[in-house]
Symmetry: C2
């Protein structure tokens, strides 16, 4: 193991649609940009990883901050999570998380099978006391900066106390990542009044109101991008749909703008001139810029990325993992949840 840095992060070299090439490239980028700040442990088929490393001329220079841990098996995107974890005992996901559990690394990052990473993280790292359901929170752009949407797809059927847990964990994560001491928490609902929404939402409102969180009440769909709340709480069914909808907006605008520009020579010129500005705005909506999402509630730092992650996304996932470690989000969540048990 590398000895020269405080934090070591295990990266699932086999996770993602273009692994290991893209993962190795992203990991090298992360190490190159931050030489010595942390080290990366690439987990997966050693030969394949070595082959990728050799394609990069400065691998030797960076090797002090790099290590490889062999794992002979790969859980594919098509694998059923629970079954794959049983049959593929030596998977890169399992081995990487074991490195974390035993303290060899302080975080685990994967762009592989999301369900498998979630299940394995919960099984291997365990849950923090007081957590019924680990959750995924996603930072989204708003007019005021960024907000955390939680749950972003991990739990489709939620009870009100799960929503409270998401709010508590999301509040700590948002506080650490957005640098806000006491982030505002809103319950995503269909109206401002307490009596609005389905039964789960009404009961969750009551629980949140009684909590020590900075609860600002219900927020509606239109409030999310306004930045009305720093933490927007919802179940994973709504969160997943909303998040994927949001991710599709840039492509929609691009298509509309292209169609507009094709309308006349003047419009074409307008399109050419405006392209840069639009691109810069769309960039904010692009998840690749921000890296993966954390699985909150497990006893460790586990970051999950899109299968289609680019090297940049992998790099940003690693940066996010490091941030979570250095800002001790895990301890913060443990302390916050202890107040509710």
């Amino acid at each position: 193991m590398p000895q020269d840095s405080h934090t070591a992060i295990a990266v699932d070299a086999m996770g993602g649609d273009h692994a290991p090439a893209v993962v190795v490239e992203g990991a090298l980028d992360a190490v190159r940009e931050t030489t010595g700040r942390f080290s990366v442990v690439l987990v997966g088929k050693k030969e394949a990883i070595d082959r990728e490393l050799q394609k990069h001329p400065d691998t030797a220079t960076l090797s002090r901050h790099l290590d490889i841990v062999h794992a002979s098996e790969v859980i594919d995107m098509q694998d059923t999570p629970t079954a794959a974890l049983k049959t593929k005992r030596d998977s890169s996901i399992g081995v990487g998380l074991q490195l974390h559990r035993t303290g060899t690394v302080q975080a685990f990052v994967s762009a592989g099978n999301t369900g498998a990473v979630m299940s394995a993280s919960t099984l291997i790292l365990g849950r923090i006391p007081g957590v019924g359901r680990p959750t995924i929170g996603t930072l989204i752009p708003t007019a005021k900066g960024r907000a955390l949407l939680v749950d972003a797809g991990a739990n489709v059927d939620c009870r009100p106390n799960h929503l409270l847990e998401f709010a508590v964990m999301g509040s700590i994560y948002a506080s650490a990542m957005l640098g806000k001491a006491n982030p505002s928490v809103g319950l995503l609902n269909i109206g401002e009044e307490e009596s609005k929404g389905n039964e789960a939402a009404q009961e969750a409102h009551r629980l949140l109101k009684a909590s020590r969180l900075n609860f600002v009440g219900n927020v509606e769909g239109r409030d999310i991008l306004k930045g009305t709340a720093d933490v927007v709480v919802c179940d994973g069914f709504v969160g997943n749909i909303l998040l994927k909808f949001g991710e599709s907006i840039p492509a929609f605008f691009k298509a509309k703008f292209t169609a507009y520009a094709a309308g006349s020579p003047v419009r074409k010129l307008v399109g050419l001139v405006a392209r840069g500005g639009l691109r810069s705005i769309m960039k904010e909506l692009d998840y690749q810029e921000h890296g993966g999402v954390p699985l909150l509630g497990v006893n460790g730092v586990s970051i999950i990325g899109h299968g289609g992650s680019t090297p940049k996304a992998i790099k940003n996932m690693i940066f996010r993992a490091e941030e979570m470690v250095t800002r001790d989000v895990l301890l913060g969540i443990k302390n916050a949840l202890a107040q509710y048990s």
Copy 2:
């Protein structure tokens, strides 16, 4: 009552934040643009309506296509729907819907208290046989044209058979309004596989698959703007949140673009050049352009608009009501539902 046209549409003159001024203006615009094609019956406080009519110099010319029916009471935006319907027996909403029930008019349009219009429409017009829950469907822009999101907020807790009803009614409405013979129907869910989603979604998938609809399976949040399905079915909790989120996108982009343009003189110039193009794209996302939404499943044509409707939105709501009448959407829905009972 006006005798010179085939269709008469009752308009709630007292409904909306700026009634009756905005409503009267929108109604006059509708009549002016379509002289003789249909007539409008303004329902509400006669004196107040007359006063507004007198502000428009061509009222006399248009009067052949206009009528006023007095209603002494107004249900406010703050009123509790069911209570208000009991205490305010002579409300513009109640009187207008009675005109529809008795056949004096063929449609009713209101930008007033949404809950009250929904309850009163269901009570006074009754439900179509086979309808458990009347629903609201909203047309939204997609890369391919437009799609119908149903339920858009009328029913927060839905059973699987309600989702099937929404799909059947939405399919007929989309067919008539989008001009597609056999519109594709998608179930909004968190993944493509049948096994995805909460229990209600899984059972609804089974019902839709067994139906005679052109069911294309689950669609995800990212598929909505792509136009993967002509009719996107979901419960009203998800639909309301998604719709309000979508409506907030233009303001978000405007804020981001303004901030971008403020960055440098060159960017300012880019902003000025691109403004027209952006505005034209944003226009598509603006509900004011498209008018109100229909309450599907009641035994009549009832169109509900935003409280903040402009004269243009009121005009478009009236046009939509006329379209629904001339394309006989009501009969289409009755026939389609008869196949399932």
